[in-house]
Symmetry: C2
């Protein structure tokens, strides 16, 4: 995160600590109270603590702030989203899906705890996500219901789960339209709800939610296309997984479909559009630096 | 349902039709709007329409009515609960869990649609359950949030999912205390939230929720213990599955642990206590007949 100003770096630290301590708090409630079901509570905590950059919860908190809200009113939504992201990784890694033994260098949940435990841990994380928002006394019922409605849309058949279905059913047989639709559902939907839930928690007007959706869509597409380019041209450190793995799996990507140069052009355009969408919010220095950090990988 | 009065039979028909048409409506919304993800929407509808007696949604609607509420304000909660019950059946049948090829005489979801599709259909049903409550304009945000909070508790690590974990981890190695705890979590928790969500939808006072919990707990335990007895002494028609299957699987049940006579005694006592708990509600003729229908199997 070399491009961050000192102020943004401090902000990143503060937000990341808030997310981590809140997630720990929710998990401790489960593991401490659990008795004979401790194993599934531990499996949930194991995968939730496996890390990652916590991009989605960061976006929830930061969009709340740039809409003039108190970040504390967005904490349960931020943690709920990270739980749902983690649930999706646990289920995606299962043998009947991608059958991945490792996730971020650690054994995947079903490798560490067994398949049935991993299945149930994923189910329980999805369920708990809605539980923590519904029990959050820092937000009004009106706000909580809007958050849950937004989040369920993003997760369901017309969001993340639908994108996963397309990825599973059409692997290797996609045109540009379907590929972009799949990107937008599979990864874009959670980014969109991240930004929009931040706005909702701040009580922002409807127009802000629209701008947040535009930002999230451009960010998600740009990130995915840069990933595709790096899979062809990049080094493994930037990519975080072996170069060439998409091609090996016979996976259609934007860069393989349109060529690397067209993909670079698209990534640059989308990055500009994402940055433009931020102009509708106040005090966005940190968000802009975060965006450039996510998108300025050498491609 | 021979024990039903004419009035109760009419009531059962009305409620069952309301549940079925509402579930169909929710599913049609998904399948009609779905395009490339149609298969998962169809898998959801397939399992949700596989039937069963709709006991849980019936209890939601009827507890709403006996608390003086309008059943229409309990419809989304009733359907949400049936979606969650169905999600749990889909995931329980998966090869990594009970590995059941059939469910109510039809191929189980993963046999009909494949494992990955069944996994995602279960996930999507759990998610949609919270979606339909959060988007129900017939109820206030306050009521919707209370419903979701109650339902998430019943489903999570300290409810149905926790019971499933105990069943998986301690199979064949349970004492009476753990067995009753497992019964109470695995099947009791959804019955409790059924009755309590009905009360919540009606805006009932806290005391009613307590009586509803007592009723549900007794009903669930009695039903489970009668099931155990029938597995030893009964005929398959009453049981709905092959007699002796628990013993074959090396499963500890209340009847195998305490003996058939003690189990009969417990079932009779619990049935009386369930009926007593209903005395705190008005106009319970139908609920009482439904209870006796569920518990008066020859045991």
């Amino acid at each position: 995160m070399d491009n961050f100003s000192e102020k943004s770096r401090a902000r990143l630290d503060t937000l990341t600590r808030l997310i981590q301590s809140s997630l720990d708090g929710y998990m401790n409630e489960q593991t401490e109270k659990a008795d004979k079901q401790k194993k599934v509570a531990e499996a949930m905590a194991y995968s939730l603590s496996a890390g990652g950059k916590r991009i989605r919860p960061l976006l929830v908190l930061e969009f709340c702030r740039v809409c003039g809200g108190d970040v504390n009113s967005a904490v349960s939504a931020a943690c709920a989203l990270e739980m749902i992201h983690t649930f999706s990784l646990i289920h995606d890694d299962l043998p009947c899906m991608d059958n991945d033994d490792y996730r971020r260098g650690k054994p995947s949940c079903h490798k560490a705890y067994g398949e049935s435990e991993a299945l149930l841990a994923g189910d329980a994380l999805l369920n708990l996500a809605y539980g923590i928002i519904s029990r959050d006394e820092r937000i009004s019922p009106e706000t909580a219901i809007k958050l849950i409605a937004n989040l369920t849309e993003a997760v369901g058949v017309f969001g993340m789960i639908g994108g996963q279905v397309i990825d599973t059913d059409y692997d290797g047989d996609m045109d540009e339209k379907l590929l972009l639709e799949m990107y937008s559902m599979k990864t874009g939907a959670l980014l969109k709800t991240a930004c929009q839930m931040g706005c909702i928690a701040a009580g922002a007007e409807e127009a802000k939610l629209e701008y947040a959706a535009v930002y999230a869509e451009k960010l998600g597409l740009a990130f995915q296309i840069i990933d595709d380019i790096l899979d062809i041209t990049g080094d493994e450190k930037l990519l975080g997984k072996p170069v060439g793995s998409d091609k090996e799996c016979g996976k259609v990507t934007y860069a393989s479909l349109k060529g690397v140069e067209a993909a670079r052009e698209a990534a640059r355009r989308l990055t500009d559009e994402a940055m433009d969408a931020l102009s509708h919010f106040e005090d966005t220095e940190f968000l802009k630096e975060l965006t450039m950090f996510l998108l300025k990988r050498e491609y």
